[in-house]
């Protein structure tokens, strides 16, 4: 598959925060993990975060559920890159935040006891998102002066789905109606500066079907309007290219050269049973029909004018091995 064209290139060295979103069921978590692996394989230290409490990362890497603590989950040979993972929980992040900025040791516990933590993280508008993005911000922004903290070359965030991504990242405007001044507000402002900078890129995962592609277009629109930086569209589950255009056209109209195919099958040592030839032609027709729909969706994606990364459909599904295959695929397309 072709690497992104020059005018569409993404500056992989500049970006410190990769936000991966996508419609449910398109493989958002899988591709966030593959992206993190691909970047780490270039010798970098990468943190992969999830924020939806699903433990999707642990499941993918086949490790026990992640605590609210950065854990190394993969590392390359000869110091060749490390991948850490963190499941961010808003409740824990809020307590950490209170302890860090307000030294609220005892009060923090009292807040928890009174159900305030629960309140703040479930309903107080935007607070949950401020906390989640705030923790990500903290991980991106660590430097040598930070005590006891690991530094990362890049952070990959398995973010909420496309329908909610702009609202999630746009914590600033979300809060404007409520916290007009005060500490939460200034925290939100700092986070927004990072999110709107060229050090951030929001990647959108889709598959070549009508609704996910439509949602991707709407998502990009929303991100543009909120001045949030759009990275790549990651097209997942791309069908293989076993048949060329001519063959697909023939397959759709039922004009595949069955006699010759029969002869070829016999030459290859197979029993050229009519049912076999028939079956192969049926499969070819269905494949060609699906591909025709996908080509239409791909034209929509091309019109979006953003870099595109293609990830193949793995017939065996995505296990740990498949995840590394997808990462290699991303490396070949220029990710580093």
């Amino acid at each position: 598959m072709a690497p992104p064209t020059a005018e569409h290139a993404i500056d992989w060295d500049e970006i410190r925060l990769h936000v991966v979103t996508g419609k449910g069921g398109t493989g958002k978590t899988t591709l966030a993990a593959a992206l993190a692996l691909a970047i780490a394989s270039a010798g970098k230290s990468v943190l992969l975060c999830e924020v939806e409490g699903r433990q999707g990362i642990a499941r993918l890497f086949d490790v026990p559920p992640l605590p609210y603590e950065e854990r190394r989950i993969a590392s390359g040979p000869n110091d060749g890159g490390d991948l850490y993972a963190l499941a961010i929980e808003p409740e824990a992040a809020l307590l950490e935040y209170l302890a860090m900025y307000y030294h609220l040791g005892r009060a923090g516990k009292a807040l928890d006891k009174f159900g305030v933590i629960d309140f703040a993280t479930t309903i107080a508008p935007g607070v949950r998102d401020v906390l989640l993005t705030g923790k990500v911000y903290e991980a991106v922004h660590r430097n040598r002066r930070s005590r006891n903290a690991r530094q990362y070359d890049a952070v990959v965030l398995d973010a909420p789905p496309t329908g909610r991504i702009t609202q999630f990242l746009n914590v600033n405007s979300e809060l404007s109606g409520l916290a007009k001044v005060g500490p939460i507000r200034s925290q939100a402002d700092t986070v927004m500066t990072l999110l709107r900078s060229p050090r951030t890129a929001v990647h959108l995962v889709t598959v070549l079907e009508e609704m996910p592609v439509q949602e991707t277009a709407d998502g990009i629109d929303g991100l543009h309007r909120a001045n949030l930086p759009v990275g790549a569209v990651m097209v997942n589950l791309v069908h293989s290219n076993e048949l060329d255009d001519a063959a697909r056209t023939q397959a759709i109209s039922g004009r595949l050269p069955e006699e010759q195919i029969r002869a070829d099958l016999a030459a290859a040592g197979l029993d050229p049973d009519p049912a076999l030839v028939d079956g192969l032609c049926t499969e070819a027709r269905e494949h060609a029909q699906r591909r025709a729909l996908e080509d239409e969706e791909r034209r929509h994606i091309e019109k979006l004018d953003v870099p595109v990364l293609d990830l193949p459909r793995l017939p065996e599904g995505v296990d740990l091995g498949g995840l590394y295959e997808l990462a290699a695929e991303l490396c070949e397309q220029g990710v580093r």
């Binding site: 009174f114 107080a124 935007g126 195919i261 079956g279 599904g317």
Partner: protein, 403 residues
Amino acid sequence: MNDRRTLARRGPLAGRAESAPPLDVDALVRDPATRIVVCCGSGGVGKTTTSAALALRAAEHGRKVVVLTIDPARRLAQSMGIEALDNTPRPVPGAEATNGGSLDAMMLDMKRTFDEVVESQASPEKAAQILANPFYQALSSSFAGTQEYMAMEKLGQLHQDAVRTGRWDLIVVDTPPSRSALDFLDAPERLSSFLDGRFIRMLLAPARGPARFMTAGLGVVTNALTKVLGTQVLRDMQTFVAAFDTLFGGFRQRAQKTYELLQATGTSFLVVAAPEPDAVREAAYFVERLEEERMPLAGLVVNRVSQLPPGGLSAEEAVAAADRLGRTGDSDTAGLTAGLLRLHAERARIVARETRVGRRFTAAHPHVPTVVLPALPTDVHDLDGLRLVGKLLGGVPGNAAAS
């Protein structure tokens, strides 16, 4: 997540992955005792399409149906005449059945539904005050679970309308694409327990009279909150909670009623899945949860299952033959035939993987009636497409359904 109940596995503790009993969707929708069908499952498995197809099939069997969809694809919504998100059931053009059946459709407007609940429970002035509060606006548009809760609220309303007017005798409900399928069962409980919470009562305390609630602990809490949120936010919060106070009881009651409606005879759940590990895992959780809650499960719908045409060639044989053709084939079409063989090998591998995924579910839940729908080469976005899916749901074999 502390809001997510840990579930022990549920079901027979030993079993073989034999084939599950078939799910007879036609019998389900033809049975006049079936009044509500709830389609649930994780996101991206085709719930909306399944709900719409089921509703259309029921209407064509003579039922008077209303289908509540959550977030249909644009073209599907257009073809059903429900582009506008206005909470009003409308007849679906082209679905006029000849045998007394009818099909209405609507798309859920979550915020509007919530507003209506508030308006029906509070005096006009109070309602206006609540609707304008920023905390209410966030609660009604972005609280995790609000969409699930409002879908159930709407179901309750439709059910009342149906009983009162006789306009419908079957309600089909699509459920929101939750992070977890369980969210929607938990939403009413979560929302009402949240609104009943200790913190809320604490916020109300100053408004309710003497400062006897002002214990030392509370003082620390209020100070901390002011420090973090600022006084303005705290004041908004108190206004909201005070205004909402009178509604709490009402919410709890409604949540309880909804729950009872879901358990009632006449309600059936269809769990929808796709042959992917995540979707099947969610389906299994759901099936187990429904049993635990004594909610009536009709069965499992597995969408988009890949199938192999007869021919019996294995993936390995196909790849080997394709390789041989690549090396020695000298005909003009050798490349094409090799491509066909590789395509077949890919399909065979997908089928094998999906079968493995399905078998894991069946072994743990052998008693759950199941219907398997083949993957369609084209998308479903018109009534003909829905009719086709409806036939497949009704157990008509793929090739017969297409003709």
